[in-house]
Symmetry: C5
Subunit: 353 residues, 5 copies
Amino acid sequence: MTSKYHKRSRKAGLAPGSLVHIGSPYAEKSKITLLRYNEGFFEAKDLENLKDFQADKDKETITWLNVDGLQDIKLFEEIGRIFGLHPLVLEDILNTAQRPKMEDYGDYLYLVARNFHDQENGGLLSEQISIILGKNFILSFREKESDLFKSIQEKISLNKGRIRKENTDYLAHALLDNIVDNYFVILENLEEKIEALEDDLIRQPDSSSLQAIHMLKRKLILLGKSLWPLREAISALERSDSALINKTTVVYFKDIYDHTIAIIDTVETFKDMLSGILDVYLDTVSNRLNEVMKILTIIATIFMPLTFIAGIYGMNFKYMPELDMRWGYFGILGVMLLVALLMVRYFRKKNWF
Amino acid sequence: MTSKYHKRSRKAGLAPGSLVHIGSPYAEKSKITLLRYNEGFFEAKDLENLKDFQADKDKETITWLNVDGLQDIKLFEEIGRIFGLHPLVLEDILNTAQRPKMEDYGDYLYLVARNFHDQENGGLLSEQISIILGKNFILSFREKESDLFKSIQEKISLNKGRIRKENTDYLAHALLDNIVDNYFVILENLEEKIEALEDDLIRQPDSSSLQAIHMLKRKLILLGKSLWPLREAISALERSDSALINKTTVVYFKDIYDHTIAIIDTVETFKDMLSGILDVYLDTVSNRLNEVMKILTIIATIFMPLTFIAGIYGMNFKYMPELDMRWGYFGILGVMLLVALLMVRYFRKKNWF
Amino acid sequence: MTSKYHKRSRKAGLAPGSLVHIGSPYAEKSKITLLRYNEGFFEAKDLENLKDFQADKDKETITWLNVDGLQDIKLFEEIGRIFGLHPLVLEDILNTAQRPKMEDYGDYLYLVARNFHDQENGGLLSEQISIILGKNFILSFREKESDLFKSIQEKISLNKGRIRKENTDYLAHALLDNIVDNYFVILENLEEKIEALEDDLIRQPDSSSLQAIHMLKRKLILLGKSLWPLREAISALERSDSALINKTTVVYFKDIYDHTIAIIDTVETFKDMLSGILDVYLDTVSNRLNEVMKILTIIATIFMPLTFIAGIYGMNFKYMPELDMRWGYFGILGVMLLVALLMVRYFRKKNWF
Amino acid sequence: MTSKYHKRSRKAGLAPGSLVHIGSPYAEKSKITLLRYNEGFFEAKDLENLKDFQADKDKETITWLNVDGLQDIKLFEEIGRIFGLHPLVLEDILNTAQRPKMEDYGDYLYLVARNFHDQENGGLLSEQISIILGKNFILSFREKESDLFKSIQEKISLNKGRIRKENTDYLAHALLDNIVDNYFVILENLEEKIEALEDDLIRQPDSSSLQAIHMLKRKLILLGKSLWPLREAISALERSDSALINKTTVVYFKDIYDHTIAIIDTVETFKDMLSGILDVYLDTVSNRLNEVMKILTIIATIFMPLTFIAGIYGMNFKYMPELDMRWGYFGILGVMLLVALLMVRYFRKKNWF
Amino acid sequence: MTSKYHKRSRKAGLAPGSLVHIGSPYAEKSKITLLRYNEGFFEAKDLENLKDFQADKDKETITWLNVDGLQDIKLFEEIGRIFGLHPLVLEDILNTAQRPKMEDYGDYLYLVARNFHDQENGGLLSEQISIILGKNFILSFREKESDLFKSIQEKISLNKGRIRKENTDYLAHALLDNIVDNYFVILENLEEKIEALEDDLIRQPDSSSLQAIHMLKRKLILLGKSLWPLREAISALERSDSALINKTTVVYFKDIYDHTIAIIDTVETFKDMLSGILDVYLDTVSNRLNEVMKILTIIATIFMPLTFIAGIYGMNFKYMPELDMRWGYFGILGVMLLVALLMVRYFRKKNWF
């Protein structure tokens, strides 16, 4: 699990707006992808840098610039200059410990969301995705390259669905929708792990179960921490009076909002399930102690009296009449058997075994 | 218990509004029932498909179309076209993991509620019921066929009560009222189980009790998760300024609202009862350990000193005066009896048995 | 403790407004008491039925009709007709699982409160009291006859206090005040039980204490569940803009509101006290286990080494020099004594006894 | 700790506004102190009764009437008549189970606060203080005489500070300020006790610690219960639009408000500290059980095998070759020593001692 | 950890606005630093006292007066007189138990924040920082000298960044930004300690772990207690309609606000981590008890039957046929071995070792 914390102290003392990338260096080099389209036109290219880039602010196409990897500070200064972004926006894009949020800067909206990747070691990688929604441009910034936006790029290039006919707000919605849908994938993996844990506990509970429970719980907390502000951000988008959001698109943001709430519900349900699993685990530990103690008590209660009886007839008194009896030995063995049987019956009656 | 989760990931990457049925395939084929009525007219038929269906939007009858089973995607595309429904509404009807909600689309209101069925294996089946309330039509969509709306159909066909005289909002209210009343049935079954559990715990508590407690708790959480948003949805209906809701009907929605709160109250009471039962169970486990330890301690405390005394006179020292005494053996037996009695008295005084 | 639940399922499927009495049949027959008064006039009679009853809606007297027992459905239909009550109000009066609430029906206000009776078996009987406050009439409905309103009837008949000079809102306030004051009586009885439980726990805690704690807790939860909505209902009355509530009476409702909050505070305090008692109980159980284990450990630690020593000299080796010594036996007895004393001293030092 | 509850049932059935003193009879006789002052004038006297008292409502002096002890019902009826107080205000002054509150009666504001006294037996005495703030008079009512207002009386008589130059609202502020400052004194005593408890727990934790924790917790809850409404009451004063509160005084009430929040913060901190102490205590009990069990296990594990070996050579078989060996006895003693050493080493390795 | 409590009782009874320094005497003497600057001008000096100080209220420079150490009451009276501060502001500056807050006094804003210092003994020193934001002056008061504002002083003297070009609100923002950034430093140290604790617990958990958990928890609570009101204070600044806050600066305060929320998030995450660590610790303690009991039970269950068998053949009956058998001894040894092996196998099957 990655720390949400990212050594922010590195920035303590710097002027606000100072561009420093704070976060894990997922990528070595920023990868820039440019899409330009309108209903009848489509163009896509990968850029090395933005030297020759012209923001076609007045033209009739929508520009979608996607940047994967946040290491290249100079690139971001250039983007800021080209699209007229506020220094604090640039700072927030690079400082990847932001909570999801929506900020209205008049000419553009600034959106932060978090995306999660299941890691091979069982951890959960948290990635910040920033989206700038302008009148005829969308900028998206991710910490690392992934397939998350691939289906959208395909839809644009193949002119599937309504995306080529709509404005930038619809594209922004499509990006957010993909981000939110990815939570469902993460949750399904978690569900599988929770169910496996439940099975394990019934078969053979041990201390590692407790650690697994806590690890899953932490993941859920991590997801929850990004979901609540995401929900607020989407709600802010939906209720925004910005001219950038068309009335017909609002219902789509409301739809994503509902998905977010469904995800939060599921996270809460999983937390409840883990609590139940924890209770069962603790009860198992406690019952096992009871069982151990019962075995000890049964053994001690049966053999202590018997050993005592044997001890009596091991005494060396001169005058012990039983010792001289012909059937004394076998009689005493019989008494011992009787005592043992009585004890066993007593524990049977108490339902101990 | 059915998962609230339904493999949403299947949709990740699809365009919003893409119709895919997400949920358990309760029914093989959709069953369509059509009712048309006004105060003087009544007609009912089961439809195979909607090819010949004419939405009598201008006529003076109320149309109630009920569909059981959500497998037939094409059917829903047709319904959407006939009644002019937003693609997202169709998507939500088919994706049965919705939280209860009320959405005002101007021409019609879209309502989602959840219905529960007790299952034979002790589980709780959760079903999504969607209701579309238009000016002169009501559409209701259920995941599976059941008797839930039977009494309403009878009242309409036999012209009992005010339902034939009222508008679609009254019919919508009747549907909701039946859905909410069904919660009382579910809760009564739960109450019986909780009381049976309480009796079990007093008689013979074991580990299965804990699992029963957690299973009941999960059911209550599942119910509660659908109740809170249902309450909000009904409250939204009640306070709605839609022209589709008449003033005289508002008081009936308020009545359902009160029922919902009563149900929530009962769910909370049951949760408290389960917490109490859990405490009693844990206390029982803990007391049983105490009892086991007491038996062990009593046995050990009585027999260890006795065995020690026997051990002394089993020593082989040449000069041990007691061994040669005439009554040494019986004297020592008396001493042993005395020690045992003292121990027993000590534990009696401590109220151990 | 009576269930708050009352088999509501009996109503599932009936039309809203269908009159069915849901609740415990406390009384066999409804008892009807009629009071008519103004500042100079007073009349009281017990009615058998309402056949000859005339609602003097225009006259200058206040009519207070009190009904005890809710079995007689026809009576309520008649009352509804005479006073022009909404069917849902009648339904709520008869369905005694209502939460306390205040509803403004324009011509009259509908108030629901809950009253509690201590039962001989230690339980708490919950009763629904409905009050209808009209311009010149008050209707009150109780599940069973009791002395709750006796003092008010006396004040009216003897013309004590301001009640004969005031309007119906003052009478409604007097009824509510008596209901709220009765909570104090219930709470005092609970306080006595809690204090008795505390004493018991210090003297001789056992498993029955836990059940007593949970029974008291449930009672407090039951009281609390009716108090929070009661508080809201009274607050709604106080802030109501209904013409039925005079400005000078508002301060009296505010007073009852304060009492309700004081009662809620006391209930919360009692819950805290019970939590404390529970903690002490659990600690006692845990300490008792520790004490049992200590006794076992002391006994085992003293006698195991001694028995071992005795065992050594019980061995039958041919060459064991100590056995032939003159003072061997007594020497060994001395060694044993020494070992025992050292062990005792060790436990003393550890403060074990 | 005094009950917050005060046998309110004594009032059940009485008309609202009936004057009955509900509370502990702290004082036998009410003590009346009268101060009259303006910037240039000062007069103070102790009154026996109010027969000759003239409320100088029009004159240019401020009248401060302080009454200690609430037994004398007639006195309060007289005060109510002289200052024109609402019967419910008088009732609340005498019923000392009020929550802190602020009520605006137009001509005067009615304030209730609670003051606490540390008792010698370690308890906390809760006292109700009522303040009536009129245009040119202040009435204050306390349950018992104390030094709480002494410093204010001195400042007035010696004309220290601004109090003689300001209106009644400033005097009311001064009274409230002293009441709130007294909470700091109570809290400092509590802090000492909490710290002493912490030290005790480290040195020698026992069952009495748990009871001390719960007693302190209850005190904090008692304080907290009066602080939250006090905070609201002061906030209501501060935001009041009453003509009795001057704009320049508002900032002083805001200051007291801040103090109240600081006190609430401290109470919460103390609660957290007690929770921590409780956890440490429970952990200590649990660790002690572990330690006891370890001793028992070590002893049993060492001596059981040894006793068994001794038992073998105590058997009376005719043919046991070891018994006849010259060094058999010492050899076996050596074996026993070896076994014991191995066991000791095993437990050492496990870090058990 | 320093108490947040500071012996406030010292002030009980004093008039409001009386200047008494309440807090730890961190510094012996107040250190005064004066900066005067505008875009083209810069001047810095350390002052001994304020005798010759002239508040250049009308001039075109910004005055920043920083005071470290709050012992010198007279100094503060002078500052109050020069800048026209309200007595309650001075009182709050000196009483260092304030919660963070923002108060608008018209001519100036009064801001309280808390700064934390890690102490060598592992504790956390809490310091109050007061900031007065006037039209052309900023006053800052700290309890002790530190490097916290050094970077800002450098930026001003070297004319780095925009600070020399902006108004006092930008300087106030810079001060707050440094204070908030310092929380990140504190949190990073805490994170290291939490991770070290987690490692310790896996290797060798003991009672000291519990105390470490509670100490860290208390630190987090202490931080949290100052963060929530700080968040509110910054939010109040951001939404303030004071003329002292320029529209262009608001976005910077919003930025700090976001940082505060990120810090609160981290504090909550750390609390969750500590809860998890606590659970693991308690589980370890519980499992260790189980392990101890298992060893005891294994030893007792193996050796008690063996000792009993040895005891039987140690009896002195005259007629015991086995004793005379040639291979009796070795036969019995074999039986004993068999019993022991069966026991070992039994525990193996139960997975006990």
